[in-house]
């Protein structure tokens, strides 16, 4: 028997979620065969089999979170990576990840029903949770040998129920019930009769918040809760920008790069962030200090099939327009495939959100914590604009700038937007400061 524990995946990750097992108990694996996908904070990592052999048991199921060092899978191994025999203790190394195996303890027998026939041993908090989730405690397999059901047992029971695709959790809304009963009405101090769970005729579907969705939710919640958001709106004439793009596009294409508006906008943002350093900053909430960032790492909000990701264009101020465009193309591609490294997904100092690419005309963006501002640009659309008393048609681009009102006031945000407009409408100004 050999155990495989969740290795340290680097970047200080303490836990990972098992996304999908590609093998099951009884399968025979080849050495280095991909057996499992786990998801850390940002990336999905494939883990190869450290041995050749048969799978005895999978310990952490799909959707569950494992900590570094938790046993994920147990092998009836035949050949290990170092070609040794199947001695119970040996250290396996594969690539950059360290794996350990230890002698497996005899499995806890959980199939036996606990001795108490009248009662499932569970603390009041566990019983409360079970009721909330609509779990019959008698059906839960206790994880402890004395038959005590824990909170985790109830949760993992729910997970298993989910896997067998039966929507089991009841809706939390009030339910009409015909059956009535009075639990403590009898005149005795004896154990109160077991209370039957009320019938729930209407059942909403419930899905656990997990994976990327969970992390997006946590991130958004943190940002929304800690940062007092304010949003300034404006519209900019994108005619000059469109002309510039049209002029540069064929040349870029010849060099194999598709030039979109985003690289141009990033290029225009850099001098702006330089002029308004408070927008390229963050608030150290613990020490109550403002950190002005000296590097310009621009995050670009990107839709992936599983949800929002923000790949980061590092040191954007040192890149040419062509470099920005081609790096961005790779980043966005990587985000969609979920192959980006953590360093490519964190550390941005300002975020640009191209709402237009998501289909909407504009929106109020939520700041990418711990940054202090985020700029959303909408789709270029022909609109009727009044210029010198006449209505003319211009390609207009909506702007929405959300800012952390603790550090930035409306006037400052207005000035920032005005300057950005000036740059977008006169992109040739870039040449003035070009080295």
């Amino acid at each position: 028997m050999q155990e495989f524990k969740l290795p340290d995946l680097g970047e200080g990750m303490q836990e990972a979620e098992v996304v999908e097992w590609l093998v099951k108990a009884g399968d025979t694996l080849k050495l280095d065969q991909t057996m499992l996908k786990v998801e850390t904070d940002k990336a999905v990592v494939e883990i190869p089999s450290p041995v050749a052999g048969r799978v005895a048991e999978i310990r952490v199921q799909d959707g569950q979170v494992a900590k570094v060092g938790d046993v994920l899978i147990v092998f009836e191994s035949t050949t290990s990576a170092n070609g040794g025999s199947s001695t119970p203790t040996q250290s396996l190394t594969s690539g950059s990840t360290t794996m350990q195996s230890a002698s497996m303890p005899s499995p806890i027998s959980v199939s036996q029903t606990p001795a108490t026939k009248q009662r499932v041993l569970a603390a009041p908090a566990v019983r409360k949770l079970a009721f909330e989730l609509g779990v019959d405690l008698e059906k839960v397999t206790p994880s402890l040998p004395n038959g005590r059901v824990s909170i985790e047992d109830v949760r993992s029971y729910i997970e298993h129920e989910k896997d067998s695709s039966l929507p089991s959790a009841p809706s939390p809304v009030l339910v009409e019930e015909k059956e009535t009963e009075q639990p403590v009405s009898q005149a005795s101090t004896t154990l109160i009769r077991k209370i039957e769970h009320p019938v729930t005729p209407v059942q909403d579907e419930r899905q656990p918040l997990k994976g990327l969705r969970k992390r997006i939710a946590e991130h958004m919640e943190r940002s929304w809760r800690t940062i007092p958001h304010a949003t300034a709106f404006d519209e900019v004439d994108g005619g000059a920008l469109a002309e510039l793009r049209e002029a540069l596009k064929p040349t870029a294409e010849k060099r194999g790069v598709r030039l979109t508006y985003i690289p141009l906008l990033i290029k225009l943002l850099i001098p702006l962030l330089n002029e308004f350093p408070i927008f390229n900053a963050s608030l150290d909430e613990e020490n109550r200090e403002i950190i002005y960032h000296r590097s310009y790492h621009v995050g670009v909000a990107t839709a992936s099939p599983e949800g929002l990701l923000v790949p980061v264009l590092r040191n954007a101020d040192h890149l040419t327009l062509m470099e920005i465009a081609s790096n961005l193309e790779n980043l966005i591609e990587g985000a969609k495939k979920r192959t980006l490294a953590l360093s490519e997904l964190s550390g941005s100092t300002f975020t640009l959100n191209n709402v237009g690419s998501f289909g909407g005309s504009t929106g109020t963006p939520i700041i990418n914590h711990p940054e202090v501002a985020i700029l959303a640009v909408g789709r270029l659309q022909d609109k009727a604009v009044v210029q010198q008393g006449t209505v003319i048609v211009r390609p207009m681009m909506p702007l929405a700038l959300s800012f952390d009102h603790r550090l930035i006031d409306g006037a400052m945000a207005g000035a920032f937007l005005a300057r950005f407009k000036e740059l977008v409408e006169n992109p040739q100004q870039l040449i003035l400061d070009m080295v």
Partner: protein, 454 residues
């Protein structure tokens, strides 16, 4: 319809501001609901104004007095010339305690921005309640309603309550003068406590119990200690008394209570009620009409504030969208006699009847250091556990502070703790709770401060 009748739309309407109603109101307010609380009197209900609190206040005053008698104190080297009490001042002190608690509740209600309406409410239909009060008649349309109207002493055939010869327990606590003799009919904790109170103050007391035991559901050996305590106070206690033979007057009747629901016009809503008028509810405190809830005594539940207060929280949470239920496994019961008695869960007999193979532990207070230093060593700790896995099934404590100590056993049973769990933890020494340790060790066959029997 009354002329000029205006309907006020409210969110959560709570009828009755006793320990059930005001707790429900506060919990719902905590959960962001706008609450209107209706009661014809001050918040606190029977428990605070006529029941538990006045009774416990007078019990403790009478106990203090009783403990200052020379025969109690000289043994400890204290000599007192004369100790006297006057009933009126005792009543005034009791009222001070009640007033202080009532003011506290009033502030909690105000602090939670709960609208308090003085008046009596009844249902017009399943959405509306009329409240008849000092300032006229009001009509409320509610989203959710919690009925917490409590209970009254049930009328007792042949013994009409007249406030003079036949009294309710509440009335007995408000007597302006102490009678020479007073008899009590009942086999519950109220009868036992009232008898104790008046006997301590020199009233000649008779306790007439219709049951075959002074109190049902209590371990007989524990009850014997209480019975001996009553006898020591000069109480004439008899069991198996035929009710029609009772000629003693004045007499206090502490029998069943009757849910206070007859004035609510429940038929206008179509709420299901049981034979005694109790509103039928499920374990989420919902009545047969799902947006109307009922809690505490008015459901016909055992008339105890502990139950009402827990059910109150359940109801408030359920109507705020949470999925919770009232499902404690056991109910602690306390009797403030001398000695004090507290019990929870199964007695040995009940556990055996329920099909458990049991093991029991017993430790007398006379072997407990703390009890001796308190000069109060009349008592015992009894534990009942499941022999299969050692989990605690029941506990009975007799002795000082039994009512406070019992909660350790309540927690143990609810947590599914075993005798070994009780035996492994530390107990402050010398302490009364060590009796639980010794009883647990005794059940495990390893009590140190007691010689094994046989």
């Amino acid at each position: 319809m009354v002329v000029g009748d205006v309907t006020t739309a409210v969110d959560v309407l709570v009828l009755g501001a006793g320990p059930g109603g005001y707790v429900a109101a506060i919990r719902a307010a905590q959960l962001g609901r706008h609450v209107t609380l209706v009661d014809s009197g001050l918040p606190g209900g029977t428990c605070l104004h006529q029941g538990c609190i006045p009774l416990k206040a007078l019990l403790s005053a009478s106990e203090r007095y009783h403990q200052t008698r020379p025969e109690e104190l000289t043994a400890m080297g204290i000599h007192v010339e004369a100790v006297a009490f006057d009933w009126a001042s005792m009543q005034a002190w009791k009222q001070g305690v009640v007033d202080r608690l009532a003011e506290g509740v009033r502030r909690l209600i105000a602090g939670n921005h709960i609208e308090y309406v003085y008046g009596t409410g009844w249902f017009i239909n399943a959405q509306e309640v009329r409240v008849e009060g000092e300032y006229g008649s009001l009509r409320f349309k509610f989203e959710h309603c919690i009925i917490a109207t409590g209970a009254d002493a049930a009328p007792f055939p042949g013994f009409p309550f007249d406030g003079k010869h036949v009294l309710t327990p509440e009335k007995a606590l408000m007597l302006s003068e102490l009678p020479e003799t007073l008899s009590f009919v009942g086999d519950d904790y109220i009868a036992l406590e009232l008898a104790t109170l008046f006997a301590r103050l020199g009233v000649k007391v008779k306790l007439l119990s219709p049951g075959d035991q002074l109190m049902s559901g209590v371990d007989p050996s524990a009850l014997r200690l209480v019975q001996a305590g009553l006898r020591k106070l000069g109480i004439q206690a008899s069991t198996g008394v035929a009710l029609d033979s009772i000629a003693e007057r004045p007499v206090v009747i502490s029998r069943s209570v009757c849910p206070r629901t007859s004035e609510l016009h429940l038929d206008a809503v179509g709420l299901e009620v049981s034979a005694n008028g109790g509103i039928k509810v499920n374990s989420m405190q919902q009545s047969s009409v799902s947006h109307i809830f009922a809690i505490g005594d008015c459901t016909g539940a055992r008339a105890l504030a502990s139950i009402a207060m827990k059910q109150a929280k359940v109801a408030a949470e359920v109507l705020s969208g949470q999925r919770v239920q009232f499902a404690p496994l056991v109910l602690p019961l306390v009797v403030h006699t001398t000695p004090e008695l507290a019990t929870v869960g199964y007695t040995a007999e009940e556990a055996s009847k329920a099909g458990y193979t049991i093991v029991t532990g017993r430790f007398p207070l006379a072997a407990n250091g703390r009890a001796l230093t308190l000069r109060n060593d009349n008592g015992v700790a009894l534990l009942v556990a499941n022999a299969d896995d050692g989990t605690l099934l029941g506990a009975t404590l007799v002795g000082p502070r039994a009512g406070d100590l019992i909660e350790q056993a309540v927690l143990a049973i609810e947590m599914g703790a075993t005798l070994t769990d009780l035996s492994e933890i530390l107990y402050a020494h010398p302490g009364l709770s060590e009796t639980l340790l010794e009883a647990a060790d005794g059940a495990l066959g390893r009590a140190v401060h007691m010689l094994a029997r046989g």
